[in-house]
């Protein structure tokens, strides 16, 4: 290891990140390897039933401590969970009713979705994927704006800069590099911006995953890479995706710390992500957090999950529902009574119904807009093509009128 005693050979010095990791590990009395490798077990604060796990069974230890968030934060997370679940299920229904073209649901993964949003400051950034609707909404983006792309109206319905949320990314893993670039720009300007970069287990196999973690480590930028390992990439199970002991074990290969957390445990997810964001901000360093979770519904409505997994497996995961676990925990702790729970459900219902309302409208998009954003100023060629379409549209109107 990079013990300063055994100085590296000339020309083979490591980046500063390495010495920072070394210092951190020393402060915990552990080796840098122990610091960078995930703890010996998943970080878990709530058991499957929603009871607080004794500290010595949480998986934490020196260099792997994760303070449990304050009560208000936990309650806020619960409210977001309830709203997220409601949105997932309503969108799923809208698809079946043909009112929505496609929706990749995160039902079952809501603890990850909510944690990703709640761990960030307003000035931070988030780079979500196609499945992270609930994260983006939890971050404060108008649900309707988020749904624009799934409705097929336009590609991205919100302003990424206004919300500091990247456009939800379909080309897998590409967004991790954007996250690194955003953090790097901030760092060069001396701003303390943490960026949360999200992807799935399947997406970790793409070359961009490697390049993003490596760039982040070498440039020492505060990016928290957050992998939602839901066990499948469409039909492909994790065992056909990776032979690694865990995806969190990838961190050490870049000189960063990795941690694996129970992704269906809202408390643990939030605790781990908040700590990661804190470390990233304090030390201007990247970290990797893998949350082990499960996608309860099909990949999208176009998918037939019965082809690749059995009902039994899905049922087993139902027992670990993040929403129920959190509800049981908060109730047990006396943080949530029927009243409060009712108010939260009501609020979620409101969000959902106003989204449903809005979704029934089918706004007429202006076909000519397809030429408007390609370049800052349209080229002569595009103006000509625009004129052609305009002419076609006008003739069509005239024809209709004539009929």
């Amino acid at each position: 290891m990079d013990d300063p005693k055994t100085a590296p050979e000339p020309g083979h010095e490591k980046a500063e990140q390495a010495s920072r990791i070394f210092a951190a590990s020393r402060s915990f009395g552990i080796t840098p390897e122990q610091y960078m490798l995930p703890a010996q077990q998943q970080i878990r604060m709530l058991d499957a039933a929603g009871t607080l796990v004794p500290v010595e069974q949480q998986g934490t230890g020196p260099g792997h401590e994760y303070p449990i968030p304050e009560d208000e934060v936990l309650l806020k997370a619960y409210a977001a969970l309830v709203a997220g679940r409601r949105i997932n299920d309503q969108n799923y229904a809208l698809v079946r009713q043909g009112r929505l073209a496609v929706y990749p649901s995160s039902h079952g993964q809501e603890a990850c979705q909510v944690g990703a949003a709640l761990c960030l400051e307003p000035g931070d950034w988030m780079f979500p994927t196609y499945r992270d609707t609930v994260s983006v909404i939890s971050r404060g983006v108008d649900p309707l704006e988020v749904m624009v792309s799934f409705r097929g109206d336009w590609h991205c319905g919100y302003d990424p800069r206004e919300h500091r949320v990247g456009a939800m990314s379909t080309p897998l893993t590409t967004q991790l590099l954007h996250a690194v670039g955003v953090a790097h720009a901030a760092k060069l300007r001396g701003e303390e911006t943490v960026v949360l970069a999200m992807c799935g287990d399947g997406a970790t196999s793409e070359g961009d995953f490697h390049e993003a973690l490596n760039f982040a480590a070498v440039f020492e930028v505060p990016v928290v890479f957050f992998v939602q390992n839901n066990g499948y990439a469409i039909s492909v199970p994790l065992s056909s995706q990776s032979a690694a002991p865990s995806l969190a074990h990838k961190a050490i290969g870049y000189g960063l710390a990795g941690e694996q957390v129970d992704g269906n445990d809202m408390v643990a997810v939030l605790a781990t992500l908040r700590r990661a964001v804190h470390l990233a901000r304090e030390n201007s360093m990247p970290l990797l957090v893998e949350a082990v979770t499960y996608r309860m519904q099909a990949h999208t409505n176009a998918d037939d999950e019965t082809r690749y997994r059995d009902r039994e497996e899905v049922e087993q995961w139902k027992q670990k529902d993040p929403l129920l676990r959190m509800q049981t925990f908060l109730t047990g702790e006396g943080l949530l009574d029927d009243d409060a729970a009712g108010r939260i459900t009501e609020a979620a219902e409101k969000v959902a119904s106003s989204l449903r309302q809005a979704m029934t409208a089918d706004p007429a998009e202006n076909p000519l807009e397809i030429f408007d954003h390609v370049y800052a100023a349209p080229t002569a060629q595009l103006l000509a093509q625009r004129a052609q379409l305009d002419d076609e549209l006008q003739r069509a109107t005239t024809d209709e009128g004539a009929q």
Partner: protein, 344 residues
């Protein structure tokens, strides 16, 4: 072969599926791999049943990485296999472009013909299916421009079968573009007849085959509508509509972009004296550009009017609600015909 039931009606999708299955049956060095092609049978089910029938050594899922898929295909082909790989959607082949451009296209030439790579890269392409962004691109131009690759794109179920078998049998790498909006189209086609016809050909003619032969899918005398893949159906419809206006349009399906059937193209345009090229991809620096350039180069003195192009606009593919305005349609082809000088 008995397990594949050939009926007298088939879909484009099952023609492709049967072609792979027959090729795997005929040659055990044929292997199929990619994302979700195994257990799931592909997101479009084109590889459905192959793993079950041939085992997971012959048809298997890979980790999610397209450069990895293309790059390992190179290695497998170097070592005696004939890989048929699937890119899930057109735009998701982009991570594999370095492997495709720098190795798959060049390996035979680099090694002075000692190492040929009989790889088939299957790519569902085109729009018209309401797909969200990054799911509807038509990127055949990138590949057609790259020397060393062959580029096929069938527009009928029969061609889907025959051309995929040819692609698998050829010693050269083939990028095989499948118009995804045709996948579920039905055609009165008997796959077992096609199979017999194909397999009775000599090995040599199979390896070279009808490759690069354009086909006249509708005879006409006034104008040639030159097209391929998903646009052939639109071209045919436009030809029908034009007939009502008294214009006899010939429709040519190029089928193979590389090799390119210049002779077939010239034959048609010299006969008709006019040409419109129809393709979905944005038109700038596209296959349609090449066809137009080539027609005027070779048929200059037969042309009564400039060669026009009806293509997608020069914009990123629009969202589902707006794609109808982007894609070439019958009216736009008729407009192009109108623009031609018909006085003479």
């Amino acid at each position: 072969m008995s397990t594949i039931t050939a009926t007298s009606t088939t879909t484009f999708a099952s023609a492709l599926n049967t072609a792979m299955s027959d090729a795997m049956e005929a040659d055990e060095s044929v292997v199929v791999f990619g994302e979700d092609v195994g257990t799931l049978g592909g997101v479009f089910r084109i590889t459905d049943g192959l793993t079950k029938r041939f085992g997971s050594n012959r048809c298997f899922d890979t980790p999610l990485a397209e450069s990895g898929i293309a790059g390992t295909a190179v290695g497998m082909a170097i070592n005696g296999m004939r890989p048929v790989i699937e890119m899930q959607f057109d735009a998701f082949a982009f991570p594999a472009l370095e492997q495709i451009f720098s190795h798959i296209a060049k390996m035979a030439n680099r090694t002075r013909g000692r190492v040929r790579l009989p790889i088939v890269i299957r790519i569902p392409y085109g729009g018209g299916v309401g797909g969200v962004e990054h799911h509807c691109d038509s990127s055949e131009a990138y590949y057609a421009h790259t020397a060393g690759l062959k580029v096929f794109t069938p527009s009928t179920a029969a061609d889907a079968y025959l051309m995929l078998r040819e692609a698998i049998d050829t010693e050269d790498p083939v990028v095989f573009f499948e118009p995804k909006k045709l996948y579920w189209s039905k055609a009165p086609e008997d796959l077992s007849t096609l199979r017999q016809a194909y397999e009775s050909e000599s090995e040599n003619s199979r390896r070279i085959g009808a490759q690069g032969q354009a086909v006249v899918v509708r005879e006409g005398s006034d104008v040639s509508i030159v097209s391929y893949g998903p646009s052939v159906a639109t071209a045919l419809k436009a030809a029908e509509a034009a007939a009502e206006d008294g214009i006899s349009a010939e429709v040519l399906d190029m089928r193979s972009l590389v090799p390119f059937d210049e002779a077939g193209l010239i034959r048609s345009v010299e006969k008709t004296g006019r040409a419109v090229v129809v393709a979905e991809a944005q038109g700038f620096v596209s296959v349609a550009s090449e066809i137009a350039a080539r027609i005027q180069e070779r048929c200059f003195h037969s042309l009564a009017s400039p060669v026009l192009r009806v293509t997608g606009f020069d914009i990123p593919y629009p969202a589902p609600k707006l794609e109808e305005h982007h894609l070439p349609d019958v009216d736009r082809i008729l407009d192009a015909l109108d623009e031609m000088q018909w006085e003479d």
